[in-house]
Symmetry: C2
Subunit: 138 residues, 2 copies
DNA sequence: TAATTAATTTATAATGATTCTAAAGTAGTG
DNA sequence: CACTACTTTAGAATCATTATAAATTAATTA
């Protein structure tokens, strides 16, 4: 199955028709081997500078939000300044380089087992997320 | 030293004159024994409903941001929907109850030692923050 | 104390990210 | 082609936050 077919599958599974705009967005998001962490603004800039015809912001927002709802993307909370999305939807953690604003994935197994010693009656743990803030060590 | 004196100290140390508006904000923030996690909107509502005369939003934003810069408050990233501030400026972690949107402090010692197994050359770790998402277990 | 200067508060305007809307365009079906 | 449904898009609306500038209050000086 070609990449394009995979994109078409994802779009259909999300209830979206495979238009050229949406396929261009899929290429950007899913045609890469490493995780992609991005803001809507990033995406818009990349799409503006790629040869393809311009895609409206509304379409970008809509598509990203549908993918998020479907589970093909997740939104991550790194800081209060920007809203980031993540193409890695498995459970994992992050390095955030405060010198460069770069986000790097940390595999679940890169973080030793975390033991939460406080229990809250009537509540259960859904997920544990670790954010490791780093900086250039000069 | 009275509470009010402490507020006046904090304000002065932050380069702000102790006006009645700012002292009212300080009371809300610092005159409590437990951590207070809040949004600007929370604060504004509480101040509106308290007997004191109305305080403008601009003053609230200004004061909170100066306290944040001074280190008397910190801003925490829980999700992308709201921006929260925290009166607990020590290093600590959080439970976030997704059923109620409630934020609860986890002492540093409530979380077992975290071992980050991935090293990034040229970078050093500043802080490690854990966010434990919980839900009502019914 | 009165006059002068500096800081503060406030209402309101500006900004910027996100969402909404409604008109024009495109695709699928027969 | 005719018909219908879905999509894209520009621009408007919304909402949180920040900026502005006039009016108020506080501090300092005479
Ligand atoms: Mn969003
Ligand atoms: Mn802020
Ligand atoms: Zn990631
Ligand atoms: Zn806290």
């Amino acid at each position: 199955m070609s990449n394009k077919d995979i994109f078409i599958e994802k779009l259909k599974a999300s209830g979206l028709r495979p238009t050229k705009q949406r396929i261009a967005i899929c290429k950007l998001l899913f045609q890469r081997k490493d995780t992609f962490h991005f803001t809507i603004n990033n995406l818009n800039n990349i799409l503006k500078n790629s040869s393809v015809e311009k895609i409206s912001l509304a379409t970008i927002y809509n598509t990203i939000h549908v993918f998020k709802k479907k589970g093909y993307l997740k939104e991550i909370s790194i800081n209060s300044y920007k809203s980031y999305f993540d193409t890695n939807v498995t459970h994992h953690h992050h390095f955030f380089n405060e010198s460069t604003n770069e986000i790097i994935d940390l595999k679940d197994s890169d973080v030793g087992k975390i033991k939460i010693k406080k229990v809250i009656p009537g509540k259960k743990i859904k997920t544990i997320e670790v954010l490791v803030k780093i900086e250039n060590s000069n």
